[in-house]
C-alpha cells in the first residue's frame, strides 16, 4: 500500500493555465506602472482590525499616500502556524477588539470607495474562510474589491478548485514559493498562480530575523523569472530600509509585515506610516543609486 507522493500526483493532474485571466487587474496595472518607472513595489502587510477597528481603518486609508503600492491585509486566525510572534499578537489584539472576517471585508469595501487603484490582497489561513463559507467568501471578497488571496495553508495539491473559482471571480491566487521548494514543484505552484509570486526569503516564520541574504536570493529569483511571467515579491524578515533597498534591486516587490506591525503596536498609526514612508524612499532610491 505504498502511497505515491503528493508531488507526483500533482504534476500529473494539474495543467498550467498559460493565460492569466487577470491581465487587466489592479495588480497587473500597478506592476506595469512600476515597471515603466523602473521601481520595485512596496507591499505593506497589516493585520485587519489591529489594534482596533477604527485605528486599523485609519491606517489602511493612509497607507497608499505614505508609499504603499500594494496592501496585504491579514485575516486573523487563532493559530497562525506560519507566522512569528509579532503577527500572532496582532491577530490576538484584533480578535480581542471584535474583528471578524465580515468586518475585514467591510474594511476593504470602504477603502475601495476612496481608492480604486491600490491593490489589496488578503492573507490568512483556511479555517476561518471555510467557516464563513468558501464560495460566499470568494464572492464577498470579489464584490468588496479584493484583488488577490494568499492562503498560507492551502498548497496547490489541495487548491486547484478554489483557484479556479477565485479566477472566475477575478481574484488572483498568489502562490508562495519557499527556499525549500524544489525546481520540480515550481510548475505546479505557478500554474495556480496569478497576480505575483510571493518568494519567502528564508526558512522560518514571518518576522523572525533580519535579512541580509539578498545576494543568495539573486540566482533563485532568476530561476523563478525564467519559469514565470509573474512579478516576484520577496518577504519574511524585511525590517529596514537597507534590506528593502537591496531586495528592490533584484525583485519586483518588497513585502514588509512584522516590522510594520511591531511599529504600530509600539507607537501607533502615525509611527507605522512614518516607517512606511522611510521604506518607500529606500525602495525608490534603490535602483537609481545603482545605475
Amino acid at each position: 500500500m505504498s502511497a505515491p507522493s503528493l508531488t507526483t500526483e500533482m504534476s500529473k493532474t494539474d495543467t498550467p493555465n498559460p493565460v492569466s485571466p487577470n491581465a487587466d487587474s489592479r495588480l497587473a496595472r500597478r506592476f506595469a506602472a512600476l515597471k515603466a518607472a523602473d521601481r520595485a513595489a512596496l507591499v505593506t502587510y497589516v493585520m485587519a482590525g489591529d489594534p482596533d477597528p477604527s485605528a486599523s481603518r485609519d491606517l489602511l486609508a493612509r497607507l497608499p499616500a505614505a508609499g504603499a503600492d500594494i496592501i496585504e491585509l491579514g485575516m486573523l486566525f487563532s493559530d497562525p502556524m506560519a507566522d512569528g510572534v509579532a503577527i500572532q499578537r496582532a491577530g490576538q489584539r484584533a480578535l480581542a477588539n471584535g474583528q471578524t472576517l465580515a468586518l475585514t471585508l467591510e474594511m476593504v469595501r470602504d477603502f475601495r470607495q476612496r481608492d480604486d487603484d491600490t491593490p489589496i490582497v488578503l492573507m490568512g489561513y483556511l479555517n476561518p474562510l471555510q467557516r464563513f463559507g468558501e464560495d460566499r467568501f470568494l464572492q464577498a471578497a470579489a464584490e468588496a474589491g479584493v484583488d488577490g488571496l494568499i492562503l498560507v495553508d492551502l498548497p496547490p495539491e489541495h487548491g486547484a478548485a478554489m483557484t479556479a473559482r477565485a479566477r472566475d471571480l477575478g481574484l488572483a491566487r498568489i502562490p508562495l514559493v519557499a527556499p525549500t521548494t524544489p525546481p520540480g514543484r515550481l510548475p505546479a505552484l505557478l500554474a495556480q498562480g496569478d497576480g505575483f509570486v510571493y518568494r519567502i526569503a528564508f526558512n522560518g516564520v514571518t518576522g523572525s530575523r533580519r535579512l541580509d541574504i539578498a545576494a543568495e536570493l539573486d540566482s533563485a529569483l532568476d530561476a523563478l523569472k525564467r519559469q514565470s511571467p509573474l512579478p516576484v515579491a520577496v518577504g519574511f524578515g524585511v525590517r529596514d530600509g537597507g534590506t528593502a533597498a537591496a531586495i528592490a534591486r533584484i525583485a519586483d516587490a518588497v513585502v514588509v509585515g512584522s516590522a510594520l506591525v511591531e511599529r504600530l503596536a509600539a507607537a501607533g498609526v502615525d509611527a507605522a506610516l512614518e516607517l512606511t514612508r522611510e521604506l518607500a524612499e529606500s525602495i525608490q532610491g534603490a535602483r537609481r543609486g545603482e545605475s
Binding site: 502511497a3 493559530d79 467557516r131
Partner: protein
Amino acid sequence: MNSTLKTLPDHNGFFVPAVPGGHPSGRRCRDVKNFSRKFLGGSPGDGHGTQLNRGYGGRYVAETLMPLIGEIEAAYDDARADPAFQARLHELQRDYVGRATPLYFAERLTEHFGGAQIYLKREDLNHTGAHKINNALGQALLAQRMGRQRLIAETGAGMHGVAVATVAARLGLGCVVYMGATDIERQQPNVQRMRLLGAEIVPVHSGTATLKDAMNEALRDWVANVDDTFYIIGTVAGPAPYPRMVRDFQAVIGVETREQLLATQGRLPDTLVACVGGGSNAMGLFHAFLDDAAVTLVGVEAAGEGLESGRHAASLNGGEPGILHGNRTYLLQDGDGQIRDAHSISAGLDYPGVGPEHAYLHDSGRASYVAVTDDEALEAVGLCCRLEGILPALESAHALYHAGQLAAAQGPDQVIVVCLSGRGDKDMDTITRHLMPEEAQA
C-alpha cells in the same frame, strides 16, 4: 467487511470511504455533504480541487514544509518495506520498551461491575510509562535513517515529550520539547524527567499555553530548521503522512491484544474502549480490528466539566469539521472559525482537535465516540487503585470509567478490552488535590 479500511488513507493523505455506495459497514454517513457525496459522486476531471471537503486528513501546511513532508513520506514508505528497519524496531520494542505488554484480566473490576469481563491492555508497563514510546521510537529510528540529528516534539501531559527525550538519548540525537506554560506547571515531574534525559524544554506562552500552542511552536521551529530537524508528532494528527505513520507505529497495541486474547481465550473481544485526545492509543488498539465487524469500537473523549458547560475537549462530540495543524478533522471552534480552548483535567486529552482517521470512523459509524467528565475519570482512578492496585493516568481513566458503565450493562459472556494507555504517577498532584484534599493541604 471489506479490507480497504486498513489501507486508508488514500494517496493524498485523506481518510475517505474507498468503496462506491458507502461505507463497508453499510451504515449511512452522517455528514453526507462533507463526506460521501462529493467523493462518491466522482468528478474525475477535478484533479485535487474539491478535496477540501472530501474527507479528513490531507496536508494543509505552509509551502516551506511541503517538500520536507513529502521526503518524510517517501522515507517512511521505504523504511516500512525494509526488513532491516522492521527488525531493528522490533528488537528495541522488545528489549528496550519491554513489549509485548500484558493483556491483563481485571478480575476485581469485573466483579465490581458484575457484568462483562474487563481486560486491560497494559501500555502503562512500557518503558517511560505510556504507549507514547511506541511511536516515538519508530519515528526516531526514521529520523536517524534520514540523517536528521535533532528531534523536536510537542507535549501536553509530558508523556510524549518524555518518550521522545528518552529515545533521543538512546539514539544519541538532540531533543527540544515544546510545552505549554500551563502544562509545565501541572506536569512538573515529567518536565524534570525530560531535562534529566538531556532534552531542552521550551515553555510556550502564546495562545492558551497548552498542547495546541506547543504544536504551533514546534511547527514554527521546524519551518526555521528544516535542514537538520525531524518533528516527531505525538498523535495520529497533523499533515499526511503523520496520521498514518503514527497509527502504524501504535498498531502494535491492537496486534498484540488480538494475539493474546486469541491465545488465552480463543476468541476476539466484543468491545474495545480507549481514550481519545488526538487519539493515538485508540487508533493503535482499533487498527487490527477494523475489519472485524463484530468488534465494537468505542473512543472516549474528555467531557471536562460536561459537554453542556462548553468546557470540554470533545472534538467529535462537541466540535465541527475544519482545518488545523495540517489536517482536516473535527475541531472545537467558534462561529468565525477561531479555535476554541479545550478543557480537561488530563493534560493529554486537552486538545481542540482529533486525528482525522477518528473523524472518518466517527462519520462512517465504524466506531462510536462518547465523552466522560473530569469527575467520572477521577472516580475511575480511585476505583482502579483500590480494586486492582493499578494507578492509571487520568487520560486512561476516561476509558476505564466508560468500560465500567458498559460492563455493568452487559452479560458475563461479553469481553471488553480497555487500553490502559499510561500510568498515573505524573498526575499525583492533580489526583491528590481532587481525591484527597486533606492530604493536598498538609
